[in-house]
Every structure is written in C-alpha cells, then in structure tokens.
C-alpha cells in the first residue's frame, strides 16, 4: 500500500509541476501573480474534450492544439491588458488577473454549462505493473509527458535566443532593455508560454480528472505551494518541487488521512516562506525585488 501511494503521489506530482511552471515563470519574469493561470488549465481540458468528443481526436494529439490556443490567448491578454498594468503597479495585476479569471470561468460555464465531462481514451483503463505496484497508464503518460515538456522548456530557456531573452529580462529588466531586448515582447512571450504550459497540463489532467469549469481552481493551492517551494521563476525548481509536493500529499494522506492533506500542504508552504523564502532552488529574480 505504501509503495502504491508513493508511486501515485510521485506521478501526480509530475502533473502538478507542469501546471505550475508557467505560473512561476510569469511571476519570476514580470512579478505578476497570475490568478487567471488556472483557468488556462480548465481551457486546455475543454479544448481536449471538444476535439475528443466531436472529432474523436486522441487527447495526446489534441495537446498541441490546446497549447497553441492557450498560447494565443495568454499572449493576447498580456499585450492588450497586462502590459499596460505592470507599468503602473505590480499588485494591481492581482486584481486584474482576478477579473480575467472571472471572465474566463464564466465564459466556460456559458459555453459548456457546469455539467461534469470526461475524456475516456481507448487506453484509459489500461494499467502497468511498476515496482510491484499497479499504475494506470494515463497517470504514467501524464507524469512522463509533464517531465518531458518541463525539460524541453528548461532547454528552450537556456539554448534558444528567445528563451535567453526571457531569462535575461527575469534577472535584470533594465540591463536587458539596454541590450536591445524589448521587454513588452518578452512579457507577452512569457505569458503566452506560461499559458501554453498550463494548456498542456489541462490536456493531461482531462485524462485523469473530471472536467468542469472549476477544475482549474482546484490546482490553485498546489500551484502556489510548488511555486514557493521551487523558488519563483525556477523551472527546474518547479519540476522537483512538484514531485516533492505530490509525494508529501500522498504520504500525508497515507499516514494521517486525506483530511490532513491540505493542512500539511499549507504548513509546508508557511514553513518554507518563513525559513527559506527564496525556495529550495530560487535566486533573486526581478519579481522578488518588486
């Protein structure tokens, strides 16, 4: 039983990590706490659902589509709304993204009603034996793909010139501006990428969880804890903290009971904030000075 709980927790942790990377990057690069982040997860799940139920497209094939759609939306919102806000006040962005979240959530309810939907791929009930435990294939896929996408984004940030521009802006906004990097473009790109990563997480969670307009919000607590645990703006920190979070949640449920899962998560969160606010892997990013 313990082995089973451990494996399940770690696999779920991979998905949590992916759900957090975009949020953490947006916070690290421009100091915006994007409360609308989780509605991109919901959106990714619904896009997957529509493609699956209307056209019979496999969720894994639908993933690039939902990533592209959420990228465009995240990019557009940043260019049209948030870029104007962050020039005036960073904390105002909390309120604006709360408003955007209301809009996106309500639009989802109007478009799809509040009924719970699900995506059942042909391999949904297949299980794999792993270290003497039985693991659903979709969970393994979700964790594996989350890890792959997370590593791909990590490499993109360090190797591609656009990625380096994002990192440079995160480290020192004024200096990167002097180096000829347009911060407005970098912000929009970061927001788009962050939304696309959330969209990917949405597609993966559509295979694991029931789909409803509030499914994204259920990630919010985990997203906050993992961001702080991993260090704001750190992709590698997010991935590792995601696995750690999943593990701690699973063990809390195993030893103390499911009621204690959230209390343990919040205790962890407050503990990290007080003892090591820069997170396990964090350094001083722009968002932290703000």
């Amino acid at each position: 039983m313990l082995a089973q709980a451990t494996v399940n927790g770690i696999l779920l942790g991979g998905l949590y990590g992916l759900a957090t990377v975009g949020f953490s990057m947006v916070w690290g690069v421009m100091g915006v706490i994007n409360l609308a982040h989780t509605s991109f997860i919901t959106l990714g799940a619904y896009i997957t659902y529509v493609l699956f139920s209307q056209f019979g497209i496999d969720p894994l094939v639908a993933m690039p589509v939902s990533m592209l759609a959420t990228f465009v939306l995240g990019y557009g919102i940043q260019r049209l709304i948030l870029n104007r806000i962050i020039r005036t006040s960073l904390l105002l962005s909390l309120v604006v993204t709360f408003g955007i979240d209301l809009i996106l959530t309500d639009a989802t309810v109007i478009a799809f009603t509040s009924d719970v939907r699900s995506v059942n791929a042909s391999y949904a009930s297949t299980s794999v034996a792993l270290f003497g435990t039985l693991v659903p294939l979709v969970r393994l896929l979700a964790a594996g793909l989350s890890l792959t996408i997370g590593i791909a984004f990590f490499v993109f940030l360090r190797r591609a010139s656009m990625g380096q521009a994002i990192l440079a802006t995160a480290l020192d906004r004024e200096m990167s501006n002097l180096m000829g990097i347009n911060p407005q473009k970098v912000f929009a790109l970061t927001a788009g990428a962050g939304a696309a990563l959330a969209g990917a997480a949405g597609t993966l969670s559509s295979m694991l969880f029931p789909i409803s307009p509030t499914m994204g919000v259920s990630f919010l607590g985990a997203v906050f804890v993992i961001t702080v645990l991993g260090g704001i703006g750190s992709v590698e920190g997010c991935i590792v903290a995601g696995f750690l979070y999943g593990l701690v949640q699973a063990w809390a449920a195993y030893w103390l009971g499911t009621n204690f899962q959230e209390i343990v998560a919040f205790a962890m969160f407050l503990g990290v904030l007080v003892v090591r606010p820069q997170g396990l892997f964090g350094r001083a990013f722009f968002g932290e000075h703000a």
Partner: protein, 329 residues
Amino acid sequence: MSETAIVQQATKAATVRPLVWIAVGIGVLVLCAAPIGISAYWLRVLTTVLMYVIVTQGLNVIVGITGYHAFGNGVFFGVGAYACGAAMVAGMPFAAGLVLSILVSAACAFILGWPILRLKGHYFAIATVALNLAAIQIIIQIGGITGGAQGLALPLSDWDPKPLYIALYYLMLAGAVASTAVVTILLRCPLGFALRAIRDSERAAAVMGINTTKAKVYAWSISAGLTGFAGGVWAYWITFIEPSSAFDPAIGVKAYIMLIIGGMGSILGPVIGAFVIEIVSTLVWSGFLHAHQLIFGVLIVVVCLVAPQGIIDASAQLVRSIRRGNGAA
C-alpha cells in the same frame, strides 16, 4: 501605484477640506434615515455595502497605510464570525460575542503577525492567502464548538425579523463610521506616522528609531479587529455559518478591489470603493443573471486600465484636465 503617488494621495487625504466633511455628515444622516424608505431587498444590499466598508477600512490599515498587501485578510472575517458564533452557542449574549469577535481576531493577528509580517511584498500577500485557505481546514479539523464541516447554527433572536434586520443595519453603519474614524485617527497619531514611514521605506523607518515589527503587528491587529467585528455581525445576521462561507477568500479579494478602486491610504476611498463595487455588482447580478461574473470581470479590468490609482484620483485628474482645457481655450 508608485510610492510618491501613494504619499501624495495620503497627504491629500489627511487634509480633506471641510466641504468634504459636510458631505460625509449628510451622507451618514441619509444612511441613518434610509431604513424608513427602502424595501427589505435594498436594506439587505445596504447592510452588505456597510459590511464591506468595515472590511475595506480594515484592509486599508494594513495595505493602504502600512503597505503590506494582505490579500487574504478575509481570514479575520471568518475568525470574527466563528468567535461570535461559538460564544453565542455557548450561551453568551450577542454583545459579548461581538466583543470576542474583535478581541479574538486581533489576538490572532497579533500572534501570527510576529512570524508572518517578517515576509515582504508578494510573499506576505500569498502567506495571508494560505492562512485564509488553511483556516477552512483548521475549523473542519477542530470540530467541537465550531461545528466543523457541518457548519454552525447561531441561536435565533427573539426579535421580529424586520426590527432585527434594521438593528443589524445600524450596527453595520456604526461599525462603518467607527472604522472610518479609526483610520482618520490613525493617520494623525504617532503610530500612523510610523506606519506610513514603514510603507515608504521600512529600512529608513527602522533607522529613524521606529520598532517596525511592533508597529506592523499593531497595525495588523487593528486591521483584524475591524474585520472581525464585521464578521461577528455578519454571523448573527445570516445565523448559519460554515467554514467555506465564513472564510470565503472572495471576501478579502473583493475588499482589496474596493480598496484599489477607492484609492489606497485615503480616508474616504474605501467607503466610496465599497459603495461603487457592491452596488454595481448587485445591479449587474440582477440584470444579467447568467453572465454576471463575466460582466463584473470586464468591469474590474476596465476600471484598472482606466483608473489604476482609484476613482477619486482619476476624477480629480479629469477635473484638472477639463479646467486646463478651459483655461487654454
């Protein structure tokens, strides 16, 4: 909002002209007379508005004056509601419950403030959100006199509903006036000067000999006491509280929006913000039942784009630019 803009706004607020105070007096008189002429529905709406005036003024103390963005300040609303509820279930009168609401909330902020107020900026903001969410789970775990996940039913009043609701309305009104008075006094007393010094530069304030941690903890306790009072009255008003409704994070977030729209650190900004947001959201809700959140969201985004320093500042700027236009013509 830039630091200088906040300072300018605060200085402006601290020297409000007498005309404004006459207007405020008339406003309070109108609100005193209001229960005579309005329907039960609008009495309910106005009571909610006044409740948010108290919560927003409480937030103003820690966010507007001290510069610590307590995004989850709604936690003290829940603490106040539960303190009052538990006291009344234990057999105490409502008045004692209200006193406990204030004291318990303030004591919570006092104890939690020592570790949490060491955090700065975003970290403090999200720590308070975590506190708010954790409180829901803690109440569920405690059970006992709090009722746990099942919720808590308060003893019903012997009064008839109509006079009871009017009495609660006046209680909220008194709370709104008192909380505005607290902010006014705070802006003029040494603690208020210390807090504004902390907001503008904590290190400089410490160098000037201010015990910054102590001042911040006092400010948060005052903020929590005000918020807790609103929670206590609210608990008796709706008579049934449960963790997810008393600690609803939306309460703190809504107050934060009201504070931004009214203008941070000012005396009357929170009052205006609460009235505008609550009445607009009520009208939107009754007009567009299916899309009210969507429209409310659009309103928030538009207001933040058009008037990021609050509507008082924006209208003052508008007046100034109109005057300048006339002068040039």
